[in-house]
């Protein structure tokens, strides 16, 4: 019997000792990794880098950034793209006047997630976690992270601040991983540019590779974003220098007239596109944005949330019928990734909606026009598509616009004419004598419709946003209140309200005026 007692005692003792050893209670989640150990070599650093791109790309649940909202925000809030109806996704960008801090779409969340991921990876890389990587590889990855971080800060300014006024309230700056009781202040717009956006992009220009494959940032992406940032700041000289330098030095070239429409197509080989400095790329249902991505949202067979206004459509039809850019405003089902498939009318015959002189084939709600800049890889599905975020032609516009503002009208005309000629070799070119800012902006509208630029271009330049009034017909546009019909950047809703959740969570946050 004593033996048994000894056995029990020995057992008890051994259990006590073995279990008590430090760390028995330290368990980890195998589906996830703790932040201290997630990156330990170059491969895992690249996996974390993909995580940054994933957040920029979004998913069906993270669609409040470049997955969809950031793009349609710039389109639908402007004057050439309209919401299909008042109840569709993103229509608050059209109706505007009902926006409050409580109901506004939260567009801070995903950019800050991008920033958080970038900061996290930068910290790990700076700590030397990627042990087997060369310094150049590490610097390139840090550069890509900094591009992401700069872009997200820049976009937050674009949405939530009077980014044209360096002294006005910008957004919080986040350059390291913060904990849950972080309660940042809104920094001045100028400070956000000078402390994050510009230095980060400059770092990337100096440290990133010139080609990381089509779906990844490189030094030229950084340079284009930098040029754009200068332009938004109103720093025309630096914008001009940065853009022209990019045009001269980068290996990128404009798509030809013939290749233009198909340039937007998803090319999964990851070969560098000649014009697109960066495209968000997808391969299938594991990395798509599904039915919440911009491609499906703009597709007439998808949720079809927006399309060209009647006036813009008529402009394309009457003035750009032979322009390659008209091919991407289509009326029939074209989803197989080809913009030149037979059987569709590149510029559809569409009635003015008055009901008079209507004939077969005219626009009805069932024969929509739609923006085909996000083409599907599969014949019946454009949920897997490329989202072209940055392309060289923007550098020409930046060069042209800043040259114009610097009174270099010949330069301005020269850069713009490259674009006009590519669109239609037979089109009338501009001259140093007749070029105007409106001509540049209107040409840019034709070049970049559906890519989220127009609204920002208008408010940057203190232009009115005219949806419809006595001179501009309403036609297909939903009825909206008078303040939303014509407004400028001084309107309350020209910038978005800080989401109420953020106001509640952070006592240091200040709401935008008027909300």
């Amino acid at each position: 019997m004593k033996k048994i007692l000894y056995i029990i005692s020995a057992f008890v003792l051994s259990m006590t000792i073995s279990s008590c050893s430090a760390g028995w209670l330290d368990t980890s989640d195998p589906s996830e990794k703790s932040d201290e150990i997630v990156v330990d070599n170059l491969t895992s650093a690249k996996t974390a880098m993909n995580g940054v791109y994933y957040m920029i790309k979004g998913s069906s649940s993270y669609n409040q950034y470049y997955g969809a909202a950031m793009i349609y925000y710039g389109d639908i809030k402007g004057d050439i793209i309209q919401s299909t109806e008042t109840g569709t996704r993103g229509a608050w960008n059209y109706t505007l006047t009902t926006i409050t801090s409580n109901n506004a779409s939260n567009m801070t969340y995903i950019p800050y997630k991008v920033i958080n991921r970038a900061n996290s990876l930068i910290q790990m890389l700076e700590n030397g976690n990627a042990k087997d990587a060369t310094q150049a590889q590490v610097d390139d990855l840090i550069g890509q992270c900094k591009i992401a971080r700069a872009l997200a800060h820049f976009d937050l300014l674009r949405i939530y601040s009077k980014f044209w006024d360096a002294n006005s309230m910008g957004m919080p700056i986040v350059t390291k991983v913060e904990n849950y009781n972080f309660a940042p202040k809104r920094e001045a717009v100028g400070d956000v540019f000078s402390e994050v956006v510009i230095p980060d992009l400059e770092f990337a220009i100096n440290n990133c590779n010139s080609n990381n494959g089509q779906g990844y940032f490189n030094k030229w992406t950084a340079q284009l974003i930098l040029a754009r940032a200068y332009q938004y700041q109103g720093n025309d000289q630096l914008a001009y220098e940065t853009a022209t330098d990019l045009i001269t030095k980068s290996p990128y070239r404009l798509w030809s007239h013939e290749a233009y429409a198909n340039g937007f197509q998803l090319e999964t080989s990851n070969q560098a596109n000649t014009e697109a400095l960066f495209q968000i790329l997808m391969t299938g249902n594991t990395d798509w944005t599904d039915r919440e991505g911009i491609a499906y949202l703009y597709n007439s067979d998808g949720y079809y949330i927006g399309h060209a206004t009647y006036e813009f459509y008529m402009n394309i039809k009457e003035n750009y019928a032979d322009d390659c850019r008209s091919l991407l405003l289509v009326s029939e089902d074209v989803q197989d990734g080809s913009a030149s498939k037979e059987g569709y009318t590149p510029v559809p015959e569409i009635s003015d909606g008055s009901g008079e002189n209507e004939k077969e084939g005219d626009y009805t709600s069932s024969t929509p026009i739609w923006i085909n800049k996000y083409m599907g890889i599969k014949s019946d599905d454009n949920r897997i598509s490329a989202i072209t975020l940055f392309r060289l032609s923007e550098a020409y516009f930046i060069a042209s616009e800043s040259a114009f503002k610097l009174d270099k009208t010949q330069d301005a005309a020269d850069y713009l004419n490259v674009i006009i000629e590519r669109g239609n070799p037979n089109a009338t070119q501009v001259t140093a004598g007749d070029i105007t800012l409106d001509k540049i902006l209107d040409e840019k509208a034709v070049e970049f419709y559906g890519e989220g630029h127009r609204y920002f271009d208008l408010i940057r330049n203190e232009k009115q946003i005219i949806r419809y009034n006595s001179d501009h017909p309403q036609v297909w546009q939903p009825i909206i209140t008078a303040p939303a019909q014509v407004f400028d950047r001084n309107a309350t809703f020209a910038i978005m309200p800080i989401p109420q959740d953020d106001m509640n969570a952070n006592p240091n946050m200040i709401q935008n005026p008027g909300y």
């Binding site: 019997m1 048994i4 007692l5 029990i8 005692s9 057992f11 008890v12 259990m15 006590t16 279990s19 028995w24 209670l25 330290d26 368990t27 980890s28 989640d29 195998p30 589906s31 996830e32 990794k33 703790s34 932040d35 997630v38 895992s44 690249k46 996996t47 974390a48 993909n50 995580g51 940054v52 791109y53 994933y54 957040m55 790309k57 939260n106 969340y109 800050y112 997630k113 920033i115 958080n116 991921r117 919080p172 986040v174 991983v177 913060e178 904990n179 849950y180 009781n181 972080f182 309660a183 940042p184 779906g215 990851n270 391969t283 299938g284 990395d287 953020d502 509640n504 969570a505 952070n506």
Partner: protein, 1016 residues
């Protein structure tokens, strides 16, 4: 545990010296039924001389002539007799409530010396109640314990609330301890198509249970430390009784239907009439329509045509009578060296719809080895295989319960004229005919196949003079195989050419408990027991999910044959280490004090915040044992006062919530991506439940036993969702900051109304009132609401209060719904414009009073047990806005609840009508109009039995034959306008937002069975 005491008693007193000469007293000891009592202690009064009865209940003892013998046995009344030869001593079973035994898992104490608050439930009388889950048997049996389920499908998860809800983000379920070992009670269903879930308790045969103790206060529960905040349910399984060897065989058969008439709808003719009326009203409201009657005539066929087969009664088509059968055999034996109990049981339940069923094979072997000196070994083991079939519920379009209430109307027909299922015509509310619920029922299935082994071995060694050491090891292994099939022939699977999802999960729990204890009495009046312990628990679970779609041949639905497959898998683990110490002292069974402390370390927390200390203090005073009380004993036989205070804890649900981690699967351009998935909250710690309990136990007038408890429990460090700056990359985190309180009173009164040799009748009434308040959120924040939920959590109000427009009845002039404005200078102003009315905080979900009434009667061979349950003051919200719409579009495409009658709806000639105008195109608005009272009285279970007189089969080898009929949910009394089950589905996961809100959940089943019970 009774046996343990018996054994100890035998050990202490049974081995006495034998005196010389005198007489040899002899005889047998039997119980009331005439069965031999084995192992009873026979002692010469005033000495230590004694023996124990043998295998035939016999004893022999040499004692001085004329002396008195004392016969005693735990669980039986002590008898004193003059010594003689050939004595026949009848010992009666102990029935007094106050002498019940409370099993705390750390020992067994007489209820009279228990200082906390606990309810002891003997399940013997409930064995014949035809339910698969244990929880259903607990309904009404204990004050302050309420039972709810999410769905009436057999085998579904049931939830138990002890003294209200004390958590928001973590669990509100009690800890279950079986034979001393805490067990896994997770929902075993990974798929959520059915709302029932799969109860892990349903894998156990509840008839293997000997007794259940529900510990309600913090005093005794603190022994379980960090998991005891919601109370502890301590279950003891059966074991062999010394000296009794018998085989018991029981079988029963029965049928089921729904316990209430769930959401009745208008039949085809009445529906057409109502719809016609609604079309006419619509036309009358529109000045452009000249002839309303013609308009109605022109349009009625679209919605209420008579199908080829005549109007369909879909209840006949989809619903069936459920069935239930069970067979079980058990054997038990016991001697001084070995006790054992073994059982084998088979249960089969078929639900009231196709594809709903539950089948279980369960075996158990429990044994105790006591033949070795100072050593006792207990073994408890059970193995079960359970198969559960479920159908979709809630608002899944294949839900048959929704179909009957909403989506399939009498104008839709189930079969074509050639007998095939109609999948081409009608079913507008389901949006396509292919969604015909019959089609899904025929081709789709969802099942969960569970194997479970749960076993424990405990060795107890008596070291010296009441000092013992005990080591328990336990292992619990649950593996599930869940399979959901959506056939390409059905609406679920047609788009993907069939979808098969297979979930395989494993849950493994290893527990070790090492205890050293001491029990002794000094100077006859100082009773001491104490235990120190060290326990560890290691739990891990893993899963594999395979998903296949695109099946060329729907009959060959295995993953191999799918054209597209995806798979997922992971594992998780959690661990815990505990140190504990507990001591009880009582002076002469009059003054009692107890204290316990436990230190728990959990892997769910950061190293620095991992350890939590939980403790309790308790005391009681048995006033009736005082000398001055003697004179009152004529009226009051027993009086005891109790007081306890303790702190215990509640763990967060997630195993890794404190960590900042990276999640994978964030794919970019076909490659793995990863990013932070969770913000670190290293300070994460236990929710702490601080509870004080005061109680009084009285036995009076030789007939009544009263237990009254007052309690207050407050949860500190309550986990609440905190909104954080999105600049962190995250928007919310759960932090320990809130506070919630539950205060209440419980009363349990038992009365032995009539006790005669032929007839006995006893009644137990349990009543409880609980008041729940959210005390604090996180400072400035006074309220929390999830999305557009109809519930709000507001400081000063009960957790989960309804929050919506306040309905003010039908507007006499327009026939529209009207609402109180609840704003401005005159909040009682009434408006029909909902936009002018403000939402207001309304009624609470939880009832103000819950209770149970139990009656047990026996007359000669007959016995009858009835348990009734009732609640008062609770509310639910009928969220079926599709049909609660006064002529909304779904009333036209689907069904109309049968409470709609033309004469009750507003017309210009009937301005005081109960309901608004019924008109095509109306819509439903969330308001207090759809709040209903859950007041009800339910005859929860009834068992009627007849034991055939034994003289009829004296020589057949059968010792007992009993015939019985048992029913569950036999009758329900509720307000007429309540169309769903008044026992609300309770949100088993806690959380905010859906508690008390009902859409389409299967009501509980009414099951009636008949059976026979044979003992050999």
């Amino acid at each position: 545990m009774k046996r343990l005491l018996a054994f100890l008693v035998c050990l202490t007193f049974g081995i006495g010296a034998v005196f010389a000469q005198n007489i040899t007293a002899s005889g047998v000891v039997v119980d009331e039924l005439g069965d031999e009592v084995i192992g009873a202690t026979v002692v010469l009064k005033g000495s230590k001389t004694g023996t124990a009865t043998g295998m035939d209940g016999d004893f022999k003892l040499q004692v001085p002539e004329g002396s008195t013998l004392v016969f005693s046995m735990v669980g039986m009344k002590t008898e004193e007799r003059k010594a003689g030869t050939n004595m026949r001593v009848v010992m009666e079973n102990e029935t007094s409530v106050l002498d019940e035994v409370v099993v705390t898992g750390y020992g067994t104490v007489k209820k009279s010396s228990f200082t906390g608050s606990a309810s002891v439930i003997s399940t013997a009388v409930l064995e014949e109640v035809p339910v698969v889950n244990l929880d259903a048997k607990l309904a009404g049996a204990a004050a302050g314990v309420s039972v709810g389920n999410s769905s009436g499908q057999p085998g579904g998860v049931e939830s138990l609330r002890i003294r209200g809800a004390g958590s928001i983000m973590a669990s509100n379920e009690p800890l279950y301890v079986i034979d001393g070992v805490p067990v896994n009670t997770e929902n075993l269903a990974e798929f959520g198509y059915s709302e029932s879930g799969t109860s892990s308790l349903s894998t156990l045969n509840s008839n293997d249970i000997e007794s259940i103790t529900i510990i309600k206060d913090a005093g005794a529960a603190a022994m379980y430390g960090s998991r005891a905040a919601n109370g502890v349910v301590v279950i003891t399984t059966k074991n062999g009784k010394v000296g009794r060897t018998n085989v018991q065989v029981r079988a029963n058969w029965g049928f089921s239907n729904q316990a209430i008439n769930y959401r009745p709808t208008l039949n085809g003719r009445d529906r057409r009439e109502m719809l016609f009326f609604g079309l006419e009203n619509y036309a009358k409201n529109d000045p452009d329509i000249k002839d309303p009657n013609k308009y109605a005539h022109d349009n009625i066929e679209k919605y209420a045509s008579v199908p080829w087969s005549g109007y369909t009664n879909w209840k006949d088509v989809l619903m069936k009578t459920g069935s239930q059968s069970s067979y079980e055999a058990s054997v038990q034996t016991g001697s001084e060296t070995f006790n054992a109990f073994s059982s084998l049981a088979y249960n089969k339940n078929d639900g009231i719809f196709d594809r709903s069923g539950f089948e279980r094979y369960a075996g158990r072997l429990n044994a105790t080895f006591t033949g070795m000196k100072n050593l006792r070994v207990d073994v408890s083991s059970t193995f079960s295989r359970t198969k559960q079939d479920t159908y979709a519920e809630g608002t899944s379009f294949s839900s048959p319960i929704m179909a009957l209430a909403f989506t399939v109307s009498p104008s839709d027909y189930p079969y074509n004229e050639d007998g095939s299922i109609n999948i081409t015509q009608g079913f507008p509310a389901l949006s396509k005919p292919l969604a015909n619920t019959l089609q899904s029922a025929k081709y789709n299935y969802s099942q969960n196949d569970i194997n479970r082994f749960l076993g424990s071995v405990a060795a107890k060694y008596d070291i010296y003079n009441g000092l013992y050491a005990k080591q328990t090891l336990s292992y619990d292994n649950i593996s599930t195989g869940q399979e959901v099939w959506w056939s390409p022939y059905t609406n679920d699977g047609s788009a993907s050419d069939g979808v098969l999802q297979i979930f395989r999960t494993n849950f493994r729990t290893l527990t070790s408990q090492t205890h050293v204890g001491f029990v002794n009495t000094f100077n006859k009046v100082h009773n001491v027991d104490a235990v120190v312990g060290y326990e560890i628990e290691k739990h891990d679970n893993d899963y594999i999910l395979a998903n296949g779609s695109g099946f060329p041949d729907p009959d060959l639905n295995i993953i191999d044959n799918a054209s597209t497959t995806k798979s997922y898998g992971s594992y998780q683990q959690r661990r815990m280490i505990s140190y504990l110490a507990s001591g009880n002292y009582n002076y002469n069974d009059t003054y009692y004090v107890g204290a316990s402390i436990r230190r728990d370390g959990s892997s769910k927390f950061h190293r620095k915040h991992r350890w939590g200390d939980f403790w309790s203090l308790s005391g009681s005073w048995r006033v009736s044992n005082q000398e001055f009380f003697e004179s009152a004993k004529t009226y009051v036989q027993d009086l005891r006062l109790r007081l306890s205070y303790g702190v215990n804890g509640n763990l967060p649900v997630s195993n890794y919530a404190y960590m900042s981690t990276y999640t994978f699967g964030n794919m970019y351009f076909g490659q793995q991506g990863t990013g932070p998935s969770r913000l670190a909250y290293k300070e994460l710690t236990w929710e702490k439940n601080k509870a004080v309990n005061g109680g009084i136990d009285v036995a009076f007038l030789d007939r009544f036993n009263l237990v009254l408890d007052l309690y207050s429990r407050t949860t500190d460090d309550l986990l609440i969702p905190l909104a954080i700056s999105s600049a962190t990359g995250f928007t919310a985190i759960n932090i320990n900051k809130g506070k919630i309180s539950n205060k209440g009173v419980e009363l349990s009164l038992r009365s032995n109304n009539i006790v005669t040799s032929d007839f006995s009748w006893s009644t137990t009434l349990n009543l409880a009132h609980n008041r729940n308040r959210l005390v604090y959120i996180d400072g400035d924040r006074r309220q929390m609401q999830v999305g557009s939920s109809v519930l709000i959590n507001k400081v000063g109000h009960p957790f989960n209060s309804f929050y919506m427009l306040e309905y003010a009845g039908v507007d006499r002039e327009t026939g529209k719904e009207s609402f109180y404005t609840n704003s401005g200078e005159n909040p009682r102003e009434i408006t029909t414009d909902a936009s002018k009315a403000s939402i207001a905080i309304g009624k609470q979900v939880d009832p103000r009073l819950t209770g149970g009434l139990i009656n047990n009667l026996s007359y000669k061979g007959f016995d009858l047990g009835i348990t009734m349950t009732f609640t008062l003051g609770g509310h639910g919200y009928n969220s079926a806005s599709w049909v609660n719409a006064d002529g909304g579009i779904y009333n036209y495409t689907g069904n109309i609840p049968s409470f709609y009658k033309i004469k009750d709806t507003w017309t210009k000639d009937n301005k005081d009508a109960k309901y608004p105008q019924f008109a095509y195109g109306n819509s439903s608005r969330t308001s207090t109009r759809w709040i209903f009272s859950t007041d009800h009285l339910r005859i929860k279970n009834v068992t009627l039995g007849y034991t055939i007189p034994r003289n009829l089969y004296r020589n057949t080898g059968i010792s007992n034959i009993r015939l019985f009929s048992s029913a569950v949910n036999l009758l329900t009394f509720k307000p007429k306008n309540v169309v769903v089950d008044p026992e609300l589905p309770s949100n088993r996961n806690g959380g905010i937002g859906s508690y008390g809100v009902v859409t389409f959940q299967t009501p509980p089943l009414r099951t009636v069975t008949f059976g026979v019970d044979l003992t050999f």
